[in-house]
């Protein structure tokens, strides 16, 4: 991936603003508490939250890369995979076996989606495929709860959720968030290598550009779709495990898709690194805004500020920071 100069400028400018605005707010307003250790605590907490958003955003990026379709069902896949994992574990399967069986379930789901839904929609308008994913989302939400029940389930993967104090106790960082960041980082590296250096990765990019053209040069579209939905299922399971152990496994897990949308807008729908950088910028931006700007306007701005931030980036990069620039001849 080659970084364009304006992307570097935009990232540097946004980082500068993320430091300057809280500092200025703290200097000018008595309502704002600003100290450098507290600033770094909020910024690091935000970056680590951002990694959790990226985990969800990755699943969207994978499907979009393969089919050019925004997969409305990604949040539902996170819920479904987590419900399946915990359900199997509650049935008496050890956790490692539950993970393996859940991975198989997600593979079967990918095959079923390709066979039942996508196969008959080859070369249809993207909006048709998008509508199909809405159907898949509602089906998975309901089906998952029908099988595994609607009650809240605890998912304890054994990681400490206690606060950790660093830099002579000046900065508090949650250990769980650090572990989640490492896991997300490993996942991103694996996916980036997969798309960059494997035949499947290249075939996938070709499919994203044009279904018919890809078919005409012998790329097996059906297999590609199964693979990409299965990989998105694996990403959903990882996100489900991390978010599920944070929030409990319950219907609300499906709503974490809302946290991924500004990440996608900012990072671009087609870039794995974009999902990561976007997640970091959104995570840090929204947390800094909530702590250092919100007190001046009543608080509770975290969610909508993330979208506003993403839209501000679109002014300078309509395709998102790392999105592909689409030029069509007319």
């Amino acid at each position: 991936m080659r970084l364009e100069r304006d992307v570097i400028y935009i990232i540097l400018a946004s980082l500068l603003l993320m430091v300057a605005i809280p500092w200025m707010a703290g200097t000018l307003s008595e309502d704002i508490f600003f100290e450098w250790p507290f600033f770094f605590e909020v910024a690091i907490g935000g970056l680590l939250s951002g990694v959790m958003y990226s985990l969800v955003a990755l699943g969207f990026v994978l499907i979009f890369k393969a089919s050019g379709v925004f997969n409305f069902a990604q949040g539902a896949m996170v819920l479904f995979s987590a419900l399946t994992l915990v359900g199997l574990n509650e049935m008496g399967l050890p956790m490692w076996l539950s993970v393996i069986v859940t991975l198989l379930v997600m593979l079967v789901l990918a095959i079923a989606i390709e066979r039942v839904v996508l196969r008959s929609l080859v070369n249809q308008e993207h909006i048709i495929l998008f509508m199909a994913t809405i159907g898949i989302a509602y089906f998975l939400d309901g089906f998952g709860q029908t099988i595994w029940g609607s009650e809240v389930k605890n998912l304890d993967i054994g990681f400490s959720q206690e606060p950790g104090f660093y830099f002579d106790g000046l900065i508090l960082i949650n250990d769980f968030d650090l572990i989640a960041a490492v896991i997300a980082g490993i996942l991103v590296i694996v996916l980036a290598l997969f798309f960059q250096y494997t035949r499947i990765g290249r075939a996938l990019r070709a499919v994203a550009d044009d279904h018919q053209a890809a078919l005409s040069v012998g790329i097996p579209l059906k297999h590609i779709w199964v693979i990409v939905w299965a990989v998105a299922g694996i990403v959903a399971l990882v996100a489900g495990i991390m978010w599920g152990s944070k929030l409990g496994v319950q219907f609300s897990l499906a709503l974490i898709a809302l946290k991924a949308l500004p990440v996608l807008i900012l990072g671009g729908f087609t870039s794995v690194p974009g999902a990561i950088i976007g997640g970091l910028l959104i995570g840090a931006g929204e947390k800094l805004a909530e702590v250092f700007i919100a007190p001046m306007i009543g608080g509770g701005i975290e969610d909508w500020f993330a979208y506003m931030l993403a839209l501000a980036f679109l002014v300078f990069r309509p395709q998102g920071l790392f999105g592909e620039k689409i030029i069509e001849r007319v």
Binding site: G46, S150, L172, G248, F251, S252, K287
Partner: protein, 442 residues
């Protein structure tokens, strides 16, 4: 084209089956119809299911054990709102004319649906019962003749929480200079206690800080960094809902805020909220307007009459006694006692909403009656009147020990002297806005 026909057929069959699933009731001409708005589906289903089970179990208990009320069988029909205001209104409109006399009362289980129904219930003459939610000022029965808010209101809950904090500190005088934070769901519900807390802050000299959490509250790191690392309050009061509750408790633990100083309103104190919070929830406190536990006679009766014969609403007995289950029971007791009052007055036959409103205006569930029901100590006695649609408005403080809630106080009485003035002022403003002439209550 053949495949398309098959697909169309499957979709048509699915739609047909879905419509059948949503109407499970059998209409009986001589039975008392009860329409119940529940949410067994949607994001808040984990809290809605035990409530619906508790409500249905008590109705079924009366049918199985006593043959209904005064010999009149009860015919329960549920409509699933998924905690969605639009669906709630749709459910109300669909159910209100069912049965021989229509729906005798509506319990919408949602502040949003409550607000949407306020005008409709007056026009339809159907009492609206909102236990622990909805409009607090509807305690004034002269302006809200068809709205009933027992056993407690959000405003009363805020007052009880401050009352408890004062007792922990050794008296109201010691609250002076203390810092109290309100973490609230950024909605009409979450904002309800602000006015009361501001009045109490002015009266007792504590510093109130407000922390709104946008719906659904999946991410609260910034909020809790402000609370735990910057403000460092003496107490945190939470008016949360759904996933926001467990997330807040976990984030409180993440910034080392003591859970013993963290108190939630009753909607932040369900068992299902504690499960995902795990160890982080140990020590957390919550107000409850109903008792906790499953050791009361009414529970034993439900197990014996229903669950032992495979007639329980829930899959197993495990959920009996959960906070939300007990709340469902309490709502069913409230409604059926009003139905009985109406039948005693108007004859042992299905009664209308207007007749139930008459009975609710005179509802008196005292200790002796609670004992007869098997719920002595589980619920606080309730006595309503034409002007008072609330009753005492009391609640207990409970604490989560890692597996269950334990009551750590007796019923705490809110400062109704101050609250009554606030209820009346707010209700009078509503009456003026709507052009309502207060009814005379003598």
């Amino acid at each position: 084209m053949k495949i398309n026909k098959v697909k169309t057929g499957i979709i048509a069959a699915a739609v047909g089956m879905a419509s059948l699933i949503s109407t499970p009731t059998v209409m009986a001409a001589d039975a008392q119809y009860i329409g119940s708005l529940v949410y067994r589906t949607g994001p808040y289903a984990p809290g809605g299911i035990p409530w619906a089970d508790g409500f249905a179990d008590y109705i079924n208990l009366l049918n199985e054990r006593d043959g209904g009320i005064n010999g009149v069988k009860l015919n329960l029909e549920e409509c699933d709102t998924a905690y969605n205001t639009d669906k709630g209104v749709e459910c109300y409109e669909r159910l209100k004319n069912n049965g021989p006399t229509g729906m005798p009362a509506v319990m919408p289980l949602s502040t949003g649906i409550t607000y949407a129904l306020l005008d409709r219930v007056v026009a339809d003459k159907i009492p609206l019962i909102t236990s622990g939610y909805g409009r607090a000022d509807a305690a004034d029965g002269t302006i809200f003749p068809y709205v009933f808010v027992p056993p407690a209101t959000y405003w009363g809950g805020a007052d009880i929480a401050i009352n408890y904090m004062a007792s922990e500190e050794g008296g109201y005088d010691n609250l002076k200079g203390k810092k109290i934070a309100l973490v609230y769901h950024d909605s009409a519900y979450g904002k309800e206690p602000i006015k009361t807390l501001e009045a109490l802050a002015g009266k007792h000299g504590f510093e109130l800080s407000l922390f709104p959490v946008p719906h659904p509250g999946l991410e609260q790191k910034a909020t809790w960094l402000k609370i735990g690392r910057q403000l460092r309050p003496d107490y945190v009061l939470m008016y949360g809902w759904g996933v926001m509750n467990a997330t807040a408790i976990k984030e409180a633990a993440a910034v080392n805020f003591p859970r013993e100083k963290f108190i939630g309103i009753w909607w932040s104190g369900n068992d299902v909220d504690m499960v995902p919070a795990g160890k982080a929830a140990v020590g957390y406190k919550s107000l409850q307007f109903n008792g906790v536990g499953a050791d009361f006679d009414v529970h034993k009766m439900i197990k014996q009459v229903l669950y032992a014969n495979g007639k329980g609403s829930a899959d197993s007995e495990a959920g009996i006694g959960e906070v939300a289950y007990n709340r469902g029971l309490q709502s069913a007791v409230l409604l059926t006692e009003a139905l009985q009052g109406a039948m005693n007055e108007f004859g042992n036959k299905p009664v209308t909403g207007e007749q139930v409103q008459w009975a609710l205006d005179r509802l008196d569930i005292d200790e002796a009656r609670l004992k007869a029901i098997g719920a002595e100590g589980l619920f606080d006695p309730i006595k309503l009147s034409c002007a008072d649609h609330l009753g005492k408005g009391r609640a207990k403080i409970t604490q989560w020990d890692g597996t269950q809630w334990k009551a750590i106080t007796d019923w705490i009485q809110p400062n109704n002297e101050m609250l009554d003035v606030m209820y009346k002022e707010s209700a009078a403003a509503y009456a003026k806005e709507k052009g309502i002439t207060p009814r005379a209550c003598n």
